[in-house]
């Protein structure tokens, strides 16, 4: 059992670890729908270039990821795989819900096959509103998440209200 699990980390060490963690977030891309392309633009486009924030895209699988971006409509058929992959991620893990569909159902609020918000299945740390949000909005969400990670106490992970970008 190491220092982290014991819950008795000296504060400077926590800060150091947090800094390291926030600049090496492996982001697992869930390009489900339209938002997935804006996520793709944030990852793949030279204009947005997510890597300058210390966010590393394309891990080989969920087991190597720290952060997952749910970008797009979550359907009832898709929910079990999402839940399963989320459980495969190692702790500490973070979830960004990108776009109206995964926030609350969006334009499909009355559909028979759409889950009205991914937060019904997994806990969400950052909500990025928009349909779809611009890549800049996603980047802001990531920056806000990094600020929160910096403040985190290793022993008791911060569990407050989720961030809402632009609110």
């Amino acid at each position: 059992m190491g220092l982290v699990e014991s819950g008795h980390m000296p504060k400077p060490l926590t800060q150091l670890l947090n800094t390291a963690r926030k600049y090496s977030l492996w982001i697992y891309q869930w390009g489900l729908a339209c938002c997935g392309l804006e996520l793709g633009a944030a990852i793949g486009s030279p204009r947005y270039d997510i890597m300058r924030l210390g966010v590393i895209p394309f891990p080989s699988g969920a087991r190597q990821a720290d952060l997952v971006v749910i970008a797009g409509t979550v359907t009832d058929k898709m929910s079990p795989p999402i839940r399963r992959l989320y459980e495969q991620m190692p702790d500490p893990k973070y979830v960004i819900s990108m776009g109206s569909c995964s926030n609350c159902g969006g334009p499909y609020w009355d559909s028979y096959s759409v889950t009205k918000g991914v937060d019904q299945i997994i806990p969400v740390d950052v909500y990025v509103p928009g349909c779809p949000p611009r890549p800049e909005a996603l980047l802001e969400g990531i920056v806000l998440l990094q600020q929160r990670i910096q403040q985190e106490d290793m022993a008791s992970r911060w569990r407050g209200d989720p961030i809402v970008v632009g609110a």
């Binding site: 058929k77 609020w109 009355d110 559909s111 028979y112 096959s113």
Partner: protein
């Protein structure tokens, strides 16, 4: 460019009924001397010759042709389209439910002229149907297209309300397999001879057929439709006029408490 198509349409619009008037007069359902569509009229005649009594309704309008056949002749009609008319391209197959919908119509509170959901009565069960007609609640329709003649045709057939069942056309057009699975899932139609009718979109435990008119959208039962503001009058004026853009902010605020 679109020389062929344009010429055909112009001729149709200009009206040259003398070209094949005897046949046209004999077969036209509409009594008005409508201009004859020169590319589609021969198709209709060929189908009439092939199917005879089984062709129960037809219409040519707006550059399109609809043919309604008896459901027992469904497969025969598709064979005729493929072999006689040269339809090589399978466009889609789907169906529709003519039933005036009870729950959803009641929820369309913004529609003052919503159809009252009349109980099924009368010769055609009280269903108000579209072009080429319809006698029962369910209708299956498919669209085929000839890439050489550049003409398409929509086939329709009425299906029984209790047991909507029709012959599969997968052996004629392999692309129909997924479309028939979708129609089975969405509307509950059975296609005899289909290699495997199973869910295509919805999870296996899903109950009901969503595209049937009596399938409720539960979210709408809980919360009234917020699109009401679309037809609200502008805040300053009694009713009508004005642009719809400004109505959103004010209208939404004013109507929030009521909804």
């Amino acid at each position: 460019m679109a020389a062929d198509a344009a010429a055909g349409e112009e001729a149709a619009a200009g009206g040259t009924p003398e070209a094949e008037s005897p046949a046209a007069q004999a077969t036209a359902t509409t009594e008005a001397p409508a201009p004859v569509d020169e590319r589609r009229q021969p198709w209709l005649e060929a189908l009439q010759a092939e199917l005879g009594e089984a062709l129960v309704g037809h219409e040519i309008a707006g550059g399109d042709v609809w043919v309604r056949v008896d459901s027992r002749a469904w497969r025969r009609a598709v064979v005729a389209c493929r072999d006689r008319l040269g339809c090589d391209y399978f466009c889609f197959l789907s169906g529709l439910d003519w039933k005036a919908d009870v729950d959803l119509a009641a929820e369309k509170v913004w529609d003052p002229e919503a159809q009252p959901s009349a109980p099924a009565a009368g010769a055609n069960g009280g269903y108000r149907t579209g072009v080429a007609g319809g006698d029962t609640r369910f209708q299956v329709f498919a669209r085929l297209f000839s890439t050489s003649a550049k003409v398409g045709i929509t086939l329709k057939a009425d299906l029984d309300e209790e047991d909507p069942r029709v012959e599969s056309i997968v052996s004629l057009y392999r692309g129909a397999e997924w479309h028939e699975r979708e129609a089975w899932e969405m509307l509950g139609f059975t296609f005899d001879g289909h290699p495997g009718l199973r869910h295509i979109y919805l999870p296996g435990e899903f109950e009901g057929h969503p595209l049937r008119k009596d399938f409720p959208l539960l979210s709408r039962d809980v919360k009234p439709w917020p699109g009401l503001v679309d037809v609200e009058a502008m805040p300053g004026e009694p009713e009508g006029g004005g642009d719809a853009e400004g109505a959103d902010a004010e209208g939404a605020g004013a109507e929030g408490g009521e909804g």
